[in-house]
Amino acid sequence: MSLGSYVLRRLGGLLLVLLVTSFLVFGLLYLAPGSPLAYILGPRGGSPAQVAAVTREYHLDDPFIVRYVSWLGDVLHGNLGYSIVYRMPVSNLVDSRAGTTIGLVALSAIIIAVVGIVFGTIAALRGGWIDQVISSLAAVGLSAPVFVIGVALISLFAVSLGWFPTFGVGSGGFDSLWHLTLPAITLSVASAAYLIRITKAAVNEEQVREHVQTATVRGLSSGVIIRRHVLRNALIPITTVLGLTIATLIAGAVVVENVFALDGLGSLLVKAILQRDFAVVQAVVLVLVVAFVVINAIVDVLYTFIDPRISLGSRK
């Protein structure tokens, strides 16, 4: 299969999944008990004018599928609805908060990549008690929920030692980076622990391969062998896991943002659920799911580029 048709096919599949998930997210509004009208206007209800406006805005007099199509059209034009709590378009809310979430996830991804690969490789190459310590710490890291880690880090580094700020995102630039450090570490612990495991297994597996033996017999220095022969090949499973992990960080960010009171999409979602601001819930869920699906698809495609042995689109 040629590259072009492969990418086209992947894109088609991706669009189909996005279409179905968007339909589900849209359908959510009608799963809720009570009429959508009551749900959108909140428990207090609304004046006849508001009812008419909402009926018009959500096309409540139209058949379900027509409503869905017009909603999807609105979403594609960047119109995510209107928040009854914040009294502003949802797209503005999402825009102003997406930056924090993206920054948090990006910073965590870097930490995960560095810590995971470095410590995983050390554990595999050194063995002995160093491996024992790293592996045990990784096992604990994998068992610790993000909010427990977050609370522990804040108590220790922000409250007791005062090295880091406790809450908020700071005032931009370096200050924001400073504020995002603890949250990013919190978010990355579990995934970094997982990557350490994967890296260790991958490096161990490559170390006993014949091409590595050959290189050793040829008398290459151990540094060269590890860089060119072991790590290069071990990188294939590592990158896959790393990519998939970044997608799961999106869910973790929801919790971390609430622990550290960051004004990202996750804290927006939780606040919106508590305030029953359904337009915001719908929009943020949509954004999170779309990001999750798109990142997974990109990783899938990149995977075939990293490992030339995988023929494009082969299913077996």
């Binding site: 999944v17 179905v20 998930t21 589900l24 959510l28 799963l31 809720a32 008990p33 096992a139 604990v140 994998l142 068992s143 610790a144 929920p145 993000v146 909010f147 427990v148 609370v151 522990a152 804040i154 108590s155 409250v159 406790t166 997608a247 799961t248 999106i250 869910a251 929801v254 919790v255 609430n258 622990v259 979602l269 939780v270 919106a272 659920i273 508590l274 029953r276 359904f278 819930v281 869920v285 999170l288 799911v289 999750f292 699906v293 997974n296």
Partner: protein, 294 residues
């Protein structure tokens, strides 16, 4: 070998021999680490089950004289901001923290196994549709399902359990489907089919018992994640509601005390959650590698 001969020589009664063999088999199965995990988990479960008998105090009784006090003779692990005994609350909290995720896994395992067996038996279009459906479920992060459920039906333990159960279906179903597909192509299945047994009968009486170790191992492995997700939703204030004792909630209220310089409640409840998840994960890993080795 020496172990066996000594046992045979020494053990006069059969009962003692049986315990020793049983113990040896148990350690073979779970390893040293797994055995430690089993023991710790057993202690936690017993403390939770018998909380009404063991807990020194009523978990909801506020004793304001002791509010935010540290460990002492009156309150072994101290008291929280409202003066409630932390040890008692941990015991009662472990109940919800164990039962909620167990329900999630029970529901998702039953549904996921049924879907997997149907997909493996029917194959072709049915299989394609079920796999596609699972892929769609997979495209939403687990905790988001719990949050969606809360958005629709309001914060409560059962809403979150329902939402998370849906999210965990694909994890079980994918693994079981793979195992069932392998069994499906075995000669014994073809033999049963030739004998005229129905697909339903073969799936339930032949294939299911053979994939059962995988089903159980996958269920236990997922349990750890369910504990984390459920506790996280409680921590966010969207799951179990105060004043109920729940470990996620205790980390939340302990967090507020920790900010004022009293980290006790947060530390103890956090450690207990990590311990539970660690034990379950170790046991699950062990079961998975046993099931694969078979």
């Amino acid at each position: 070998m020496t172990m066996k001969t000594t046992t045979l020589a020494v053990a006069k009664d059969a009962a003692q021999r049986r315990t020793l063999v049983w113990r040896q088999r148990y350690i073979d199965r779970f390893g040293v680490l797994g055995s430690i995990a089993c023991a710790i988990l057993a202690i936690i479960v017993l403390a939770a089950v018998f909380a009404p008998l063991l807990a020194p105090y009523d978990p909801d009784y506020p004793d304001l004289n002791y509010a935010l006090s540290g460990p002492g003779a009156a309150h072994l692990l101290g008291a929280d901001a409202l003066g409630r005994d932390i040890l008692s609350r941990l015991m009662y909290g472990a109940r919800i923290t164990l039962v909620g995720p167990a329900l999630v896994i029970l529901l998702s395992t039953v549904v996921g196994t049924i879907l997997a067996l149907v997909a493996a038996w029917r194959g072709r279009k049915t299989d394609a549709v079920i796999v596609w459906f699972l892929d769609i479920l997979f495209s939403v992060p687990g905790i988001v399902f719990g949050l969606i459920a809360v958005a629709l039906w309001g914060p409560s333990l059962f809403t979150v359990v329902g939402g998370l159960a849906v999210a965990y279906v694909p994890y079980v179903a994918r693994v079981v489907r793979g195992a069932a597909l392998r069994e499906r192509n075995m000669p014994y299945v073809a033999a049963a089919w030739l004998q005229g047994h129905s697909g339903f009968a073969i799936s339930t009486t032949q294939i299911l018992p053979n994939v059962q170790p995988i089903v159980i191992a996958q269920a236990v492995s997922s349990l750890g994640f369910a504990v984390i997700d459920l506790a996280a939703v409680s921590f966010l204030g969207l799951g179990v509601q105060p004043p109920a004792a729940d470990l996620g909630l205790m980390v939340k209220s302990g967090f507020d005390s920790a900010l004022r310089g009293y980290p006790g409640e947060a530390i103890y409840s956090g450690i207990l959650i990590v311990l539970i998840v660690w034990c379950v994960t170790v046991i699950g890993d062990r079961l998975l590698s046993n099931a694969r080795a078979m």
